[in-house]
């Protein structure tokens, strides 16, 4: 029989399939230690998150509203009404556009900045301090700041753009349906990139120097060294960062809500802001819950596919 080292906390350290199967039949007592380790976090999350989730799920099938506190079951009416309305599809496309553009730009800019910060030695500390400013600024404050910067006459953006002649005339970025969401996207990129920058900076610094040296000796250019050596080494970090940024961006509410409240009209509404408007401005809890569930479902599908991919590559072992 193959020797199996067990630790007293249950489970085994070592791949012994046959004996593992037999252990399972001895009951879950073996794993109490492990469960105890994860229990506090799990219980906390259950109590604080699962209940609201289940409650929202239930409410989405009712006509609950603030002035109707005893809700009546209406089946899938909220979902049906949502899916047939133009507003829903506008919010949907905005959300997808918002998430994809922000995440991609944060990735590219974060990668570039991270690698950049690894190069220059002179003002590196100052730069790092500067770079985290957007990340640690409260979302609402950042939104107010950017709103002022986008003011057609009193704001910084137009002043700069007109000085370099990229724009002639005072453009009201946040007041035009075509430019409101793109303008907020720029603010979101500014706000969230620092997280990616720090992650990629560190990942780049952890690329084994000897690998890079070997490539250089073999005659690879800087660009080639990056693409074929550094980038693959950084891939695990990149994967986690993109997962987190996608989830955080999709649900990010502060910037859009404070800068335009989803306007003009519905031009800049995304799932979190529209759900919020339904729940608090109009106090229609049932409809809000339905939108919330749909948004969560979209993120759920994405996350599961994504994590399954990570699992396939052994990232969850």
């Amino acid at each position: 029989m193959v020797e199996v080292r067990e630790n007293t906390l249950g489970g085994s350290v070592g791949p012994v399939q046959a004996t593992q199967y037999r252990k399972a039949t001895r009951g879950l007592r073996r794993y109490i230690g492990s469960y105890l380790l994860v229990a506090p976090s799990f219980v906390l999350l259950c109590v604080l998150v699962v209940y609201p989730l289940a409650d929202a799920f239930y409410l989405s099938f009712t006509d609950a509203s603030f002035i109707r506190p005893i809700p009546e079951w209406v089946g899938v009416r909220n979902y049906h009404d949502a899916v047939v309305s133009d507003t829903f599809w506008k919010v949907f496309t905005n959300s997808i556009l918002w998430t994809v553009v922000v995440v991609v730009c944060q990735f590219l800019l974060g990668l570039a900045t991270g690698v950049l910060l690894a190069q220059k030695l002179r003002i590196r500390s100052v730069m790092r301090a500067l770079v985290i400013v957007p990340w640690v600024m409260p979302g609402v404050i950042a939104a107010i700041l950017w709103k002022l910067m986008y003011d057609p006459y009193l704001g910084l953006v137009n002043k700069i753009l007109m000085t370099v002649h990229l724009v002639d005339g005072f453009v009201a970025w946040l007041a035009q349906p075509e430019t409101s969401l793109p303008a907020i996207i720029v603010a979101a990129i500014w706000k969230g990139t620092p997280f990616s920058t720090l992650m990629y900076l560190a990942a780049y610094q952890n690329v084994p120097a000897d690998l890079l040296d070997a490539a250089r000796i073999d005659g690879a250019s800087r660009w080639q060294r990056f693409i074929y050596v550094a980038f693959p080494e950084m891939l695990p970090t990149i994967r986690t960062t993109i997962l987190l940024t996608t989830i955080w961006t999709f649900n990010y509410f502060d910037l859009v809500y404070v800068m335009t409240r989803g306007g003009p009209g519905y031009a800049s509404h995304i799932f979190p802001t529209y759900t919020y408007e339904l729940a608090f401005a109009k106090a229609l809890q049932g409809e809000a819950a339905a939108y919330g569930m749909i948004g969560t479902a979209i993120m759920l599908i994405f996350s599961i596919l994504y994590i399954r991919e990570i699992n396939r590559r052994g990232g969850l072992d």
């Binding site: 630790n7 007293t8 906390l9 489970g11 350290v13 399972a24 879950l28 794993y31 492990s34 380790l37 994860v38 506090p40 976090s41 906390l44 999350l45 604080l48 998150v49 609201p52 989730l53 409650d55 929202a56 900045t113 950049l116 190069q119 301090a129 770079v131 640690v136 409260p138 979302g139 404050i141 910067m149 009193l154 002043k159 500014w190 720090l198 992650m199 560190a202 990942a203 610094q205 952890n206 695990p236 970090t237 994967r239 997962l243 987190l244 989830i247 649900n251 919020y276 729940a279 608090f280 809000a288 919330g292 969560t296 993120m299 759920l300 996350s303 994590i307 990570i310 990232g315 969850l316």
Partner: protein
Amino acid sequence: MSTWYRRVQRAVPDAATLVVAGFFGLPLLWMLSTSVKTASEVFTAPPTILPKTITIVNYQGVLNRQFLLYLANSTIVSLGTSVICVGLSILAAYGFSRTRFPGRKVLLVAIMISQLLPLAVLLIGIYRVANALNLINTYAGLISAYLAFTLPPSIWLLRGFLTSVPVELEEAAMVDGASRLDAFLRISVPLAMPGIIATWAYALFITWQDFMFALVFMTSDERRTLPLGVLALIGEHTIDWGKLMASSVLLMVPIFVTFGFVQRYLIEGLTRGALKG
């Protein structure tokens, strides 16, 4: 010709750094400059980047007893959350990375999934739970709420980090007669310290700037946190821009100071934690 090309090549990082610094830093500069402007200069068109006259009247107006009260509350809540978060995450991450048990992967995924809920949907539900447990307007209540959204990323990050600390070192210590717990505490934890500090810093920064949960959970003035104090400067009909910017700057100062100290660990820790996807 090649020297010219090489000079350009060397200048690119400098120029790029300038552009990046400008992109990230200009709004901060704007904020700083507005905080020292006089009330009438804030409303000038065209706007001035550097103030014509500098006044500290905004800072004086903001630094009062209430501000210190809010600062204390923020410190208690953020420190409390980040420390507890790290403690619970270490336990959970240890369980996930060092042991095998049924449902391990499912649990891990489930923990990440709890991050997916939008705020509007979560808020009333969490409030009800906290109210039923009599936690409204208490530090414990707000800390619990913050734990709900800092635990999942923390567990994932720490788990990854512990996975890359070789388990052989612990096993060697056990062979020498140390208990499992001893081995873990004496060997793996110190090695994992950068990651632990990184997780702690992440939770600290995120909770320091939150305002939605604080707004709803802290119902009396004595318990308010800094972001609430800052946003109180936005009235129904007017905004005190100078004071608003001054208090925002002051809100960020403690974070910068902390970041200065943990910079090294934060960077190193964030990457190690992420390595194992």
